[in-house]
Assembly symmetry: C2
Homo-oligomer: 769 residues x 2
């Protein structure tokens, strides 16, 4: 019995079926849309998928009945009428010009398909067959200590799928097929190197599909020449390839496929391996190739390994499905986590850079390399599975993408320390410190060392620098890593950087200790005449500027506490108490901004347009101490989130802020809920990010015990947010959004940016509620 229920909402959405670290996906699921296999691409591939069955033998005249995974499938002939049509077709063909062939492909309609979307399986069932894609995930071992066999299992750059046709009650043979209509060149048949009974096709040296026929226990049952084996074809259409037994393959064709026949009285399954293998150096400046090339000799090796591993893969996926199905999450929440998981892995890329592993998460459709403000959100996922990748990221940022700046003294401040050189913008400068780049490059092109691809100078909005926030992000990643692993050897190796981070944090407040207030008040000299921005770059004034910003202020506070964790780990008690002191200043400053209405302005500048915004990300910074408190190596953090602890005042203020925002019964403009019930991060913007909602909801429920209306939650767990949850599902599955296989930036319920995005795995925190 399947552990995954029939999908409860609109099943017509793309999912990014991806292995781990290969920056590869097999994307499909939205009706009438192309998808398919792609490597190193920040959007779905452009392939028509023909997956289905026809009545009769492979060369018979029957109509092909397909899942609607091809362009215009929603306008194609309907399967319900296929049998009748097939008859008419034959008649028509006999009577009229044979060149005017009617279409031979029909598509199932929505009501003829059931979809089950688990954590690691995605299954479509029609009355004729079941098609199921398996995407196991789990630990990627640190290659320094792992065996080649372990690495092969973890890094297998392939996805497994099975097409099962139950013809046990049938009276005649049926033919199943999996074919891809490509719209670019380099196609070939995999006629060697796969072993007996297996066949397949490929695009160049990099993308390939192999197939074999198996029985119910997963055992391969037939050779290519034996009865019931898999056969390859390639013509300009899937029907053309099946019908012409004399010429099933034309190398000029654009639609290769794999087929199999199912005799009456039998059940047969076509097992498919869909994989990639890029053998060459794929990046520039820092030159790396995929780490999997150390363990796989080529495409056929990859595809063969998927078959060898298929029983384990299927078991593993079932266990993952079960784990999610047995969680406290409701159906919408399960969907969001399962959807986010796939989209995350589709963006992951593990390289071998001169003998060392190099972990990358690409930024969805933008394909920026290791965007640091995404990394800090993906931390929670990565620490569950492979903490070493977080360490790898931290090290790579220090080595290649850190820099030292000065900071700009707020203009005209008579008390600012004098004697600094004027900045390019005419401001005077004071000491800054170490910080980190927004990202490491784009589309496999590493940016100049010490510079991101995103940040420009002299700007006030999008594309300005995020020097303060990226400094916080590095600290929070490091603190999370140490809290989870207790890796004090690593912390000691970074002692200079950690102490430098504290100084840099404080200098962005004020270099003069007596004048500090615990939050960021100075912009990096890298901004030139411009000003620093936050990761919410395209939201609105409430989250644009970094200075005197509520969201950043709470993140500053959390970062000081993160530094406490790290400084204690390296035994620097003096610096740790210095950091605590700054955290306390931050608390004081933030709490002091509380309005009489029970919320805190987004920007602490009364004349600023952001002063009137009510932002839920105010509470985002709380997620870090909340997370640390549950880790084995950061016991002190539980006091920091204790209502009676040293930061009780801040916790109380932010709880009051969140309660005020959520308990506002209004929906739409000026509220923190959209009309559809979805969560609105800023009361003054139509923009919302699902990943950030994931964090905010976790804090609301776990720390504040609030339901979606700001009331006390009756029982622990992720419940009490039903209307929000169901809106969030619709954001991903309805309309144009459904093409993008999990998007982050939602404008009034539609994915408008940050599409095909990895960051929504913040929702994994819900599993701990």
């Amino acid at each position: 019995m399947p552990t995954v229920d029939d999908f409860h909402a609109n099943p017509s959405f793309h999912a990014q079926h991806s292995p781990m670290g290969a920056f590869f996906s097999f994307t499909c699921g939205r009706f009438g849309s192309r998808g398919g296999m792609a490597a190193q691409r920040g959007r779905p591939a452009n392939q028509d998928l023909f997956i289905g069955v026809k009545d009769g033998s492979r060369t018979g005249p029957g109509m092909l009945k397909c899942l609607p995974f091809f362009d215009q499938a929603d306008k194609a002939a309907r399967v319900a009428d296929a049998a009748a049509q097939a008859y008419l077709v034959e008649q028509a063909r006999a009577e009229s010009d044979p060149a005017k062939k009617p279409p031979k492909v029909a598509a199932y309609g929505r009501e003829q398909i059931r979809r089950r979307y688990g954590w690691a399986t995605d299954a479509w069932t029609t009355e004729d067959f079941q098609f199921m894609v398996y995407t196991p995930f789990g630990e990627i071992l640190d290659p320094h200590g792992a065996s080649p066999g372990e690495m092969r299992r973890a890094l297998l750059p392939a996805v497994l799928a099975r097409l099962t046709i139950d013809n046990s009650a049938g009276k005649s043979v049926r033919t199943g097929f999996f074919a891809i209509g490509f719209h670019d060149s380099g196609l070939r048949i995999l006629d060697e190197g796969l072993g007996e009974g297996r066949t397949g096709f490929a695009q160049g040296r990099t993308l390939g599909v192999a197939g074999r026929v198996i029985d119910g226990s997963g055992r391969q049952t037939a050779g290519e020449d034996g009865a019931g084996g898999a056969f390859a074809f390639m013509r300009w259409s899937p029907d053309g390839g099946l019908e012409d037994r004399d010429n099933p393959v034309h190398l000029l064709g654009g639609c290769p496929g794999i087929g199999f026949e199912v005799p009456p009285g039998q059940v047969r399954t076509l097992e498919l391996a869909l994989g990639c293998h890029l053998e060459e150096i794929v990046t520039t400046r820092l030159e790396g190739r995929y780490l999997y090339t150390r363990y796989f000799g080529g495409l056929t090796d990859v595809l063969g390994a998927a078959f060898d591993e298929s029983p384990r893969i299927v078991r593993h996926c079932a266990a993952l499905d079960r784990q999610l199905a047995e969680s406290k999450l409701n159906l919408d929440q399960r969907f969001l986590l399962a959807h986010a998981t796939r989209s995350y892995y589709g963006s992951t890329q593990l390289l071998d850079m001169g003998g060392e592993p190099y972990w990358i998460v690409n930024e969805g459709e933008y394909v920026m390399i290791n965007t640091l403000d995404l990394s800090v959100d993906q931390l929670f996922w990565e620490l569950r599975h492979n903490p070493w990748v977080v360490r790898n990221l931290l090290d790579n940022f220090v080595r290649f993408y850190s820099y030292h700046d000065q900071v700009k003294v707020p203009g005209g401040d008579p008390c600012s320390p004098g004697g600094d050189a004027p900045s390019p913008g005419g401001d005077s400068l004071s000491p800054g410190g170490i910080t980190f780049c927004h990202d490491q490059g784009k589309d496999n092109q590493f940016a100049p060392l010490g510079h991101s691809s995103y940040e420009l100078t002299d700007l006030d909005g999008c594309f300005s620098h995020m020097s303060q926030e990226q400094l916080c992000n590095w600290i929070l990643l490091a603190a999370g890593y140490v809290a989870a692993t207790g890796d004090s050897a690593w912390a000691r190796s970074q002692a200079t950087v950690i102490r430098g981070c504290l100084l840099s944090m404080q200098n962005r407040d004020d270099p003069d200790p007596s004048r500090r207030i615990g939050i960021t008040r100075r912009d990096s000299s890298r901004c030139g005449r411009g000003a620093e921005i936050t990761t919410y770059d395209s939201l609105d004034h409430s989250l644009a500027q970094t200075r005197n910003n509520l969201y950043i202020a709470v993140k500053d506070w959390a970062s000081y506490l993160g530094l406490v964790l790290l400084l204690e780990k390296i035994g620097d008690a003096d610096a740790a108490s210095d950091a605590i002191a700054s955290a306390k200043l931050a608390q004081e400053t933030i709490v002091g901004q509380m309005t009489s209405e029970g919320w805190i302005p987004a920007v602490f500048e009364p004349g600023n347009p952001g002063h009137d915004s009510r932002i839920l990300p105010a509470i985002e910074g709380l997620v870090y101490p909340l997370f640390w408190a549950r880790q084995p190596h950061a016991s002190q953090a539980s006091r920091w989130i204790d209502a009676d602890g040293p930061f009780g005042a801040l916790i109380a203020a932010l709880r009051r802020h969140a309660t005020t925002l959520l308990s506002n019964p209004a929906r739409g403009d000026s509220a923190n809920r959209f009309a559809d019930g979805g969560v609105r991060l800023s009361s003054t913007s139509k923009n919302s990010w699902m990943s950030k909602i994931g964090l905010a909801l976790h804090v609301c429920r776990t720390l504040f015990h609030l339901d979606e209306n700001g009331a006390e939650q009756p029982s622990p767990g992720p419940g009490g947010w039903t209307s929000a949850d169901s809106a969030h599902t619709a954001w991903q599955t309805e309309g144009a959004s459904a093409y993008w296989a999990c998007s982050d930036q939602i404008v009034s319920g539609v994915a408008q940016g940050s599409k095909y995005y990895p960051r929504i795995v913040t929702t994994v925190l819900w599993m701990d509620e």
Copy 2:
């Protein structure tokens, strides 16, 4: 003074500027169309090119005045009005919403541009600048004997260009630029590895442009930081990259470029290297990488070498231009040859296959590998430049893409030798012999050994087998190679194959010597129920079937003579005289088909629809003995084309045939001229192939001394074909054809197939007239 005249016809056509053997081109020239740099692509790239000048400094507000090499350039602002517009633009911008920027790019109109199209240079001149592209060509040495330096010079996978701005009479600074608007990802700035004073940009590891500023003598004049140096930029538009000096480069941008400033009173040139470097294995089944990777370490090495070699490149191109300008060819003929040369090299690919060189010419837009019926036409070009590539091709066909078949006994022939197994089509079979595949694969994917990508079984038309014609082609290539080189060691090494070819030729006539008539009458068993076709696959009945076909019959005759050459070279006099005997039978058969009207039916079957067609390719086979007769190692061939020699009857009959066809004053249907004066290969088809016209005209003029009206040509040389020549120019330069940078298959004056094609280099034969 330039040796190349201003282009005399429509200058708005793409040219494929390509180095040798790199399967790379920089394509540009058609107004309002995209082009640019591409490797391994059978069509122009999809890049907008912004090449031009703006008045004022790099960051000034001036309008960019560009060559019209970008999408919609024909609809962009016109340069004539640019100065006025620039003023208005500034006013408008100041007054209105700055987000509503008016366009800042203007394009020169057709009447503002002069183009000069030489054999190895392509120059555009406006009142403001000159842009010139250099594509030298010549010998590629056999790598077994050449030095690395020689190979670097021959295989340099880059094209050189120069943008010169004469501001000697100017009063203020002007800024020149070369920028590319990409529509795909992976862009970066080449900020390291090029050396001082040079900068550039790249797409990934494979495509790149570098620039430097040089003086009139080609000497680099300035460093990046010095006055007048080249600078890089990259934003979303060329004007954006020039204007923003604070942020000239955004790695998220899609339009990288190189600029330079020219102070008043000065002339400066931006020298550009446009190149590629693909380091990895690029093919499948037979696995090869580019041979140039043995000599170049990477993209920056390639681009730097172009600069190092630039004086030699410029001299070499000037010499090639002069050679063509001083030839007897008229302007149209010069254009066709120069155009064909570029398109040929754009399809060439020299690989290193396990330590051995592997020569490939890809088939234009179809990208089939070494299509053998193209190879035989490209022979004349290749023997002029690097005969070893012909030998390489011959060897690779024998080793990987030859096969042995049987042949089908014509149905119901009571005299056919009995006892053979019935063929799949029910015919009985008789012995066949060795022959060769149509091609070796497609799009870098080698076909299964012994099989082409093109040929299928059981067909009568397109995609059927060409077993007989490819056998002829191998023989004719081998004969041409030996005639030109006298390489008897190679001929001896192929003795078995050569003798096998004779047997195979004769068996396709009749295995019984007493029943032979010298021409092909049996189809290969590979055809199954179908029939063999010729290389003129998509023409009409006149050139579709191989059996009893006039075109094939004459090619059979030439092939027997080619075998004579080869057999004499290996000292097999008996076999040679056997081959001569078959050639004589062929003569007898062909001459016997002469009609009373003085032409020979295309198909020797009175009931066949091709029986009424009058085809010029009847005379194509004569080009081989005509060619051999001029080579140093085939003196006997001059007798074969002598009107008083052993084949005088055939020569006379074909001369009469050609005269009849050409002297028909009709144009259009049923004639051998189109309404526009262009040559029509078959009186019953609107299809014509320019490469084949090149051969037919060479025979008409050189052997028959005919002008385009079938009259005796008054003086030797390529004259007397003016109206045809000018039509042939229009076929390449007018309308949609002009996008495809030299196409072969022309339907009623428009390129409809065989676009972006290499084969038109048959026109090089005209240089020998």
